[in-house]
């Protein structure tokens, strides 16, 4: 039986269809999860996709964090289930205190949709095992509030413990230390501002490319699940 990966839909979520497709293309079974349903339906990993959950009212991700499904996601994350938050999903993970820091309005104040170059810094998380540390990739960003911020001590700690997952080569929004993504200490929870689900297919991925640099996020977690099953067995 293939691994089952859940994708949560909140009201206002936009990239759920994309995340479901990415999961399918990676070879896993995509499972839709609904914000009001605390049941995770036996999934092995979870993606919180991008969008504007609850209209970004109050603060991006601030209301989604209190939905029934998030109680279960938070509990599962503490038990080691792989969780990837993309864009608004990253914001939800920060609001849920599964990840440190916060995402605030971009320098320049505008929404920016652009293909950006990143280096994958941590290739040992549940979602990045398929990359080499230091590998340069191209993934799109699209956000108005994507500037990562945290206090200096937290930033130092993230750097020192290898929890900076990805860094921008040309910092597009003023993120602290050009951080594009971070992980929790255990490495099972990853938040990423860029959208790997938009870079999985030659037809629709970044142009002029490379177009499919995002796919390893999804195949990595699949590999991790298979490996851990072998270990458990």
């Amino acid at each position: 039986m293939p691994a089952r990966i859940g994708v949560v839909t909140f009201p206002g979520t936009q990239d759920d269809a994309d995340a479901l497709r990415a999961v399918r293309v990676a070879g896993a079974e995509p499972v839709s999860l609904w914000h009001r349903d605390a049941d995770l339906h036996g999934v092995d990993a979870i993606v919180l996709p991008g969008g504007f959950s609850y209209g970004d009212y109050l603060r991006c991700g601030a209301i989604a964090r209190f939905s029934p499904v998030m109680e279960s996601v938070i509990a599962a994350a503490h038990e080691g289930m792989p969780v990837l938050g993309i864009c608004n999903g990253f914001q939800v993970l920060c609001e849920s205190h599964l990840l440190p820091g916060a995402l605030i309005r971009n320098d320049g104040m505008l929404f920016v949709n652009r293909d950006v170059r990143l280096t994958v810094e941590a290739a040992d998380t549940a979602w990045t095992g398929g990359y080499k540390a230091g590998q340069e990739i191209v993934i799109p960003i699209k956000n108005g509030e994507g500037k990562f911020t945290a206090d200096e001590r937290t930033l130092d700690e993230l750097e020192a413990t290898g929890r900076v997952v990805a860094r921008y080569l040309d910092n597009p929004n003023g993120s602290a230390r050009a951080i594009a993504g971070v992980a929790n200490a255990a490495g099972n929870v990853v938040g990423l501002m860029p959208h790997p689900e938009h870079a999985i297919d030659e037809l629709t991925g970044p142009y002029p490319g490379p177009a499919t640099d995002g796919l390893p996020f999804f195949t990595s977690v699949l590999q991790r699940l298979i490996d851990s099953e072998l270990v458990n067995a």
């Binding site: 206002g12 936009q14 504007f52 699209k142 629709t204």
Partner: protein, 756 residues
């Protein structure tokens, strides 16, 4: 003002007080129209009825000035077998194969966007998306053709950033990719920007929804946002004049959008459609509840009873006249059978969408509305929806038209660059001019990727969306317009807009199918404007016949003027194409060194209305480029066949700025230079900058050159080898060389400098 102090103007009161003076003029109702309303009703209208007639008979809703000209789109449409729904419904629908249908339409939100750029543009997107949703379709993309005053004008810096943020803010939050459009500057749009929005949706062929209230006893359900005091505008006059209350009845005339509400409403509707729970559906757009109730009733069994006081309100002080006219966004009205109602409510509850039964379908032939038990409206809905006034507005060719056309931009009048140095400087100046410069600053604010089916977007000749991951079936869309051409010759100018959009769709490999148009003009009360309008409609109709692409719907926007000065007549035309496999789409980028560049089509000395005359000489005169529609059709077939047979590596249509602009764009997009040898029969300046229609530049592998040129010759379309893809400079041999880096700096620098 609290409810109990409000005394409704009831039908009973109207009958008892025929002499009551009514402020119909302030609502835009003419003397004869008011007399006609009294004749229809056999009494004076109640103030609620007057409100409804005033909005339903307005130019915007009734098309009273344009109707007689728009008819020909249907009456003289080309015979096609793919048109499922034609003009007159919320949007046209075409069959694209594989049991799928596509619905698309363009609309304007010009005036609100000038008053309040962010909300005006945002609700423009919201409105057109609801039209698509109303047809039963999932909206899958938007395109935004925009026109502003001069790029360096102070007011443009107020309007443009707000409009762009509004489109992004609303469209991005709906999760709809923005895949095309235009950004054009011209002094004629100074006090009157054109903010047009096109949306497209997909549905199963068998699941088209129509706006009609059938079946007596069925429920009329209002769902979505609560009704508020925004977008009321004129009705405030009624409220204050009728009641003279001291409440703050000055209402904002521009609607305020909530994209989150609309996103939820879209998903809610799609779930309701999937279970086939509605017998009729209508969105609430212009004229709000007035329009939705009358159109549903007029198209269905014919009667409807509505308890208006049941409509959920954001502002409890609203009176019936205001509720009827409010254009609050994100509202829909459905007709639901009693059996389906519980499930309908369940789905609304799932999405946290408020839904309320406010009425019942009847077979009385009357639309009756009550307010706390008293009858305030009792009309035949067809008199509102279909029997509005129709004007045969007088029109005549302007006296100045001849002089304008005689003022041709020939070499004797306008100095032309000569020699390599001057041509080089002109190229750099042109690529940096606002209309031709890189629009990344704008386009980066739009999400073009969401939903993951965007195959082509900005920077390509048309946007392209994949409909099926299994088969690769997809659609392409382009919008184009040229106000300068249309000013010089409205008949040909409108046709040129259509031809350009048609060519753009074909250039990406898709077969053009159908048309939607947004006709932006000045005041229809000006006979010269009316002539421009009549000519443009006639031109479009004739061109659609030759190209085989019917008009499926669209929108007319009149009264676009600053003071008494009308904008250039600006028909913006959207063309929809279909492609059986998006994997064979053609990009505009030159990607492979050594490939051969071919110019397809014929170049003449044509600079009337050109970008060059506009930028370098601020000149507008002469005639627009000649148009041979048979040739356009041939070119389209060549471009599609070239894609289908795998001959084409790149194709780019030639339009504003001519050959050199197209070459520069394709070079920069692919990051490869080109060595160009001009055929040499014309002045190099003409070869490079003329805007002759019916042309495209293509890149083909050497192995395909003969096959491709043979195909052109066979179809009697001129084709000439003009160079190769090579290096990292754009070189026109014997004239000049420009390194791509220098070209790119000029091209990309303009917008950040202006707006960054």
């Amino acid at each position: 003002m609290s409810e109990h102090t409000y005394q409704a103007d009831t039908v009973e009161r109207a009958e008892a007080s025929p002499e009551t003076e009514q402020p119909y003029e302030a609502l835009g109702v003419k003397d004869d129209e008011y007399a006609r309303i009294r004749e229809i009703l056999g009494r004076r209208p109640t103030s609620s009825e007057l409100a409804m007639y005033s909005v339903m008979w307005s130019e915007h809703c009734s098309y009273k000035s344009s109707k007689v000209h728009l008819r020909q789109f249907g009456e003289r449409a080309p015979e096609v077998d793919f048109l499922l729904v034609g003009p007159g419904e919320n949007a046209g629908v075409v069959d694209v194969g594989e049991d799928l249908a596509v619905t698309f339409k363009i609309e304007s939100h010009n005036h609100p966007s000038y008053v309040e750029p962010y909300q005006g543009a945002a609700t423009g997107v919201g409105g057109i998306v609801r039209d698509i949703l109303t047809m039963g379709a999932r909206p899958i993309a938007v395109l935004d053709p925009l026109r502003f005053g001069p790029a360096d004008a102070a007011d443009t810096h107020r309007v443009l950033p707000g409009v762009v943020r509004g489109i992004g803010g609303y469209g991005n939050s709906l999760g709809l990719p923005n895949i095309g459009g235009e950004v054009v500057f011209d002094a004629c749009y100074s006090g009157n920007p054109l903010v047009n929005a096109l949306s497209v949706g997909v549905l199963k062929k068998s699941e088209i929804k129509l706006a009609k209230a059938d079946g007596p006893g069925n429920h009329v359900v209002l769902f979505g946002a609560r009704t508020g005091g925004d977008g009321i505008g004129g009705a405030s006059v009624l409220a204050s004049a009728t009641f003279d209350a001291d409440k703050p009845s000055k209402r904002p005339s521009v609607q305020v959008g909530d994209p989150f509400m609309e996103k939820v409403l879209i998903e809610c509707c799609l779930e309701i459609y999937a279970e086939d729970l509605v017998t009729g559906i209508q969105d609430l757009g212009a004229a709000g509840l007035s329009c939705a109730t009358t159109e549903l009733a007029a198209a269905g069994t014919g009667g409807m009873d509505v308890k208006l006081d049941l409509a959920p309100l954001r502002d409890a002080t609203l009176v019936p006249e205001e509720i009827l006219m409010s254009e609050s966004q994100e509202r829909m009205m459905a007709v639901v059978t009693p059996e389906n109602l519980p499930r309908f409510f369940e789905i609304c509850e799932k999405w946290d969408v408020i839904s309320t039964v406010i009425g019942t379908v009847t077979d009385t032939g009357r639309l009756r509305m009550t307010w706390h038990g008293e009858t305030i409206v009792d009309v035949d809905p067809r008199t509102l929806a279909h029997q509005g006034p129709v004007y045969e507005r007088p029109y005549h060719r302007p006296d100045w038209q001849d002089a304008l056309q005689a003022d041709a931009p020939d070499a004797a009048r306008l100095a032309r660059p000569a020699g390599g140095e001057q041509l080089r400087a002109t190229v750099l100046r042109m690529v940096a001019s606002p209309n031709l410069a890189d629009k990344t600053w704008v386009l980066e604010q739009y999400d073009h990727r969401v939903r993951g089916n965007t195959v082509l977007a900005h920077g390509e000749d048309s946007g392209m969306i994949r409909l099926s991951e299994e088969s690769g079936l997809g659609i392409a869309l382009s919008t184009d317009g040229n106000g300068r051409y249309t000013k010089l010759d409205p008949y040909t100018g409108a046709q040129l807009a259509l031809a350009e959009a048609y060519r753009n769709v074909a250039a990406t490999g898709a077969t053009p199918l159908a048309v939607t148009d947004c006709l932006n003009f000045g005041s229809p009360e000006d006979p010269e404007v009316m002539w421009q309008f009549a000519e443009a409609c006639r031109g479009l109709t004739d061109a659609c016949q030759i190209l085989g692409t019917p008009v499926t719907g669209g929108n007319v926007s009149f009264y676009n003027q600053t003071g008494s000065e009308a904008i250039h007549p600006t028909p913006v035309v959207g063309v929809l194409g279909v492609i059986d496999d998006v994997a064979r789409r053609t990009r505009s980028a030159f990607e492979t060194e050594g490939e051969v560049l071919l110019l397809v089509g014929e170049t003449l000395d044509e600079f009337g209305g050109s970008e060059w005359a506009h930028v370098v000489h601020e000149h507008l005169g002469g005639l627009p480029p000649k148009l041979d529609l048979e040739r356009e059709r041939q070119l389209g077939e060549i471009l599609v066949a070239g894609s289908r047979d795998g001959m084409l590596s790149a194709a780019h249509d030639l339009s504003d700025g001519g050959l050199i602009q197209a070459l520069a764009e394709s070079c920069m997009r692919g990051g490869k230079g080109a060595r160009v040898v001009l055929p040499g029969e014309l002045d190099p300046f003409v070869e490079l900058f003329s805007e002759s229609a019916g042309r495209a530049v293509v890149a083909v592998p050497r192995s395909e050159e003969k096959r491709f040129t043979d195909m052109c010759v066979f179809r009697n379309v001129p084709v000439a080898r003009i160079g190769v893809v090579d290096g990292d400079t754009l070189e026109v041999q014997g004239q000049f060389e420009i390194p791509l880096a220098e070209l790119r700096e000029a091209w990309t620098g303009t917008f950040p400098k202006l707006f960054g």
